[in-house]
Symmetry: D2
Subunit: 326 residues, 4 copies
């Protein structure tokens, strides 16, 4: 049984705490949160106890789900305490800070896993497995579509690091995960079409990115902060031997037909529903990695590289120039 | 070039006349109809001439699309004239009359093809081909769904011979076509749920039939005189090695998604659209058969056997008893 | 918290015991099984204790998942002990025995729920909800397809009561659930096409049934003991205003395309996977009913009526005659 | 009846000549081709006569389907002769030459239609209609996928003007057709992944393009010279109120299911099959335009603008820089 303390009792902390409580090989060591009521509420819901930050950093492992600005500090503190760490993405919005933090982790030699949950989605994981098994031959073209159902409030946007660091970072990680080699060039085009408040907050709400790898593989990413038909999450991998794609997921298989046509359910509403299984599988991978002493993945370097791509996309969208990636 | 005269300038005669006019190996010898204006209008549309019945029976081949009560007489006259005949289904609503008619045809030794157009539908024909090729293994369960978009007027129903002879006869022929052996038992259940006027005219508008063959293959047919989502035409063949099915066809591949879900087009509206290709392929098969001297299929016996099944279904629905078929 | 003892540590008992153990408003009072090792193994897996039958009948509620011949006796014993009972289908293979048992339950006034899990499947439950909401108008035609992936061993078949009581009983219950009125007539056709050993054991492996209600609604059921493409579970409800259907469920949304076409996953393999959510929802409904004092549904009468339909189907298939239902 | 002469008896000329011959409001004035046998063969197949170039330029209208280098000269000659012209794309591979040619046409005041057949595809045309009707709200993101089944021979590639001018030009025209405003920026990434012979001929076989319009609409195009699953032709328009997409088209609706899953047909093999209806509708639009005196569309300017985008894409792919469009 792996003892895991949870820091952060917000939306994402709640998902993880419940999954830890229900996992047969883990024990929820307690909930720490700067807001005592939040910690108490989540502790009650999961049968765990409220703990202090000091207590959280005394458990065998710690899951960091607190606000982004605290991540790097907490990772360093946990690493120095010899803890295994699972940290929600991103490690930090500054690549320099991430690099420094990863240096501390490397020095400590402790395991660090970063929460790119989509790698563990059963649909995308199956696509990856089949791609790796060669079913589609050599990958040539990759397309990733990711659209939120509704835009976040402009206030959220202002502190988020921008669409590329906040939202597309998941797709950039997925691109790295699937392309099998690092991108060498990136071009981004973006605009504000959904909510002018987002534009006034200095961000964009619609964006597309092109990636090219050294061997010539091409990747397209499409993001929007709004999709009226649910949380649009799709991947399509075109290879020399065929096409593999993972489509949207619906709540039921029910279909209705009348003069308007044949209508299925919309896509699942948002990440809580769409990625419920992914969060469980992600946690399971972390527990297994820590328990067996194998380095967890995606790790801190994956977090850094996705952030560097998001930084490059932010710059490219601003300058209208392609960015060469080292 | 095969010279074909068309008798009957109604809805079905129009389809066939246009197809003959457009066929590279046929010549439309003329249009005959009891209503001169109808003949003239179709002749003008196809670049053909209006002809008399006598002239129609002087062509190399004749296509009979006139009202059902005329079919058997016209077939006999054509056979005696040595003509190849394509006759719309049914040959007659009385099995005894059909038998007598087929006797005349047999005596004349002339070719007779009956218009079970669905055998030539590209979708159903592909299913048949793949079934025959053994792709699904041994056929065990067959399901045929056939639903009209809107009920016909009760006046039509009164003269139609009833749902089983007018509508389900197509599905009964399809069952014979696909089952690979004759049914030995039939059970029908029917009711009037769509239009009480149809019930007052002595007919039903909703019906299901069960067929069993000697080797134990089972078949279900489902008919309704109304489907709000278009002309519902589906076949599903379940075999020892897999399932083959042919689904509905839509006008376009366009799909719309919003909060209501993902919506495709409805099914094609009715037989003119759904079976446009089938009518062309059917005519082509007739022309090829006559031109090469090979007996056309489906033939008069197929017409008789489908009618006998429709008669048995009519009786079964009336008596609530299964009918053994010889 | 509702205390529930589980009797029977076989395949179905394992499903329920795990669900009880994971339910926030239930406590697993223990596992009783005639085979001590089975009880011990399941107890270990669920963190519960092994208990005796006497102890099982002392809990607040009991879940009966033992072999069919024990069901009625155990239900009676539990009822006399004042327990709420959840019993797997069927209550008994003899309708007379079921009637007697239900008399005992009625006399005791205790709640009894029968395990027709499919009513709780999210897909079928959504279809039912939308049908009841009038989305498809008045129901006219119902089609239920239920095909197992592989045939059971002939030895199982011999003790099962036959396909209609063992397998189709689920579909007969679903028909009652959805039709909104009781069937008044039934016709069954059956054969042995999958495994001759099943025929030698006196049973059939392929069967179709027709139901008719007093108002003329028609229902078709199709069963096979084999489907190469997974556990085929589909429902289609055709009404005056449209069609509602619930299709098969796949493990992932991944699709592969090459020269052979576009290929999705097969249907989920069998009931463990297909109805995992249904078993959880079913248990939740039982706990909620017992906790709130509302009579649970489906109840003993539902179990009896489905069995009576299965008996009628067995007779109809044997005699080739339609059976009038009272 | 519009008299149309056809110049060019190759693959595309054959399509158009047959469609003219089958059109009720057109007459095929004859076939001209530099290769007399080709002209004779197509003339025989369509019941038309072989004519000289001089005769072709004497008809009321001329359809130019000869090799690309002849297009501009023939258009000019036809314009000077007062003919209505339908010319296959492209007018020329040099934008300067196109401009000069359009000047001649403008001076003559004769109608010129350019063969962007996909605008007339029933699926894409329906999508366009529904988009224009506001069904998806304001268009924000457009995705166009176009992949040939198999790469052309390197020799073809060498004379083609390159992938962007030869293949993607169709998608660039479609982007203009759907975006509702002109692109102001373009970025292309391309590589040779399918056939190294294409690379040796100086071209690419895989390419993606990003377009941005002044109001911020974003468009992605994806091209490959190979798709193992048929001719991949898809469009997806994401708007403020929903998503409209047109998917691939299959030969039949037949689906097969076994342990490998549920398999539909592959996409239609290539443009002859996929765009058969589009070619007919395109011709009909030309005939209608000329007959009614309304200027046909897409016109010469559409041809020029698509070519300018293809030129910009060629440059962008070579320089790895975004190109601003005037």
């Amino acid at each position: 049984m792996l003892d895991i303390a949870v820091i952060g009792a917000g939306r994402i902390g709640q998902i993880h705490a419940r999954n830890i409580a229900g996992h047969p090989r883990a024990r929820l060591a307690g909930i720490a949160d700067a807001v005592p009521e939040a910690a108490a509420s989540l502790a009650a819901a999961t049968g765990a106890k409220v703990i202090s930050l000091d207590e959280a950093f005394a458990a065998t492992a710690v899951l960091i789900g607190s606000p982004t600005p605290t991540h790097a500090d907490y990772i360093e503190r946990a690493a120095k305490a010899g803890q295994a760490v699972f940290c929600e993405k991103p490690v930090d919005l500054s690549a320099a800070r991430v690099r420094a933090c990863l240096g501390v982790v490397a020095a400590a030699g402790t395991p660090l896993m970063v929460g790119f949950n989509r790698r563990f989605d059963p649909h995308f994981a199956a696509l990856k497995r089949r791609l790796d098994a060669g079913e589609a031959g050599r990958l040539e073209l990759l397309s990733i579509i990711s659209r939120d159902p509704t835009p976040p409030p402009p206030a959220y946007v202002a502190a988020s690091g921008g669409l590329f660091r906040d939202m597309m970072i998941h797709d950039l990680d997925m691109a790295r995960f699937l392309l099998g080699e690092e991108p060498v060039e990136l071009f981004a085009a973006a605009s504000c079409q959904v909510d002018s408040g987002i534009g006034e907050a200095g961000d964009v709400d619609t964006a597309i990115v092109t990636l090219r790898t050294a061997s010539g593989r091409l990747c397209q990413i499409s993001n929007s902060r709004r999709a009226t038909y649910g949380y649009d999450q799709r991947i399509e991998a075109h290879g020399s031997a065929g096409l593999l794609r993972a489509g949207n997921v619906t709540a039921t298989s029910v279909e209705f037909a009348d003069g308007s046509g044949f209508t299925t359910d919309p896509a699942l509403p948002f990440f809580l529903e769409r990625y419920a299984a992914a969060y469980r599988a992600e946690l399971d991978a972390f527990i297994t990695a820590v328990s067996t002493g194998i380095a967890p993945t995606p790790n801190g370097l994956d977090g850094l590289k996705a952030l560097e791509l998001a930084d490059a996309a932010t710059e490219s969208a601003r300058t209208n120039r392609a960015v060469a990636l080292s």
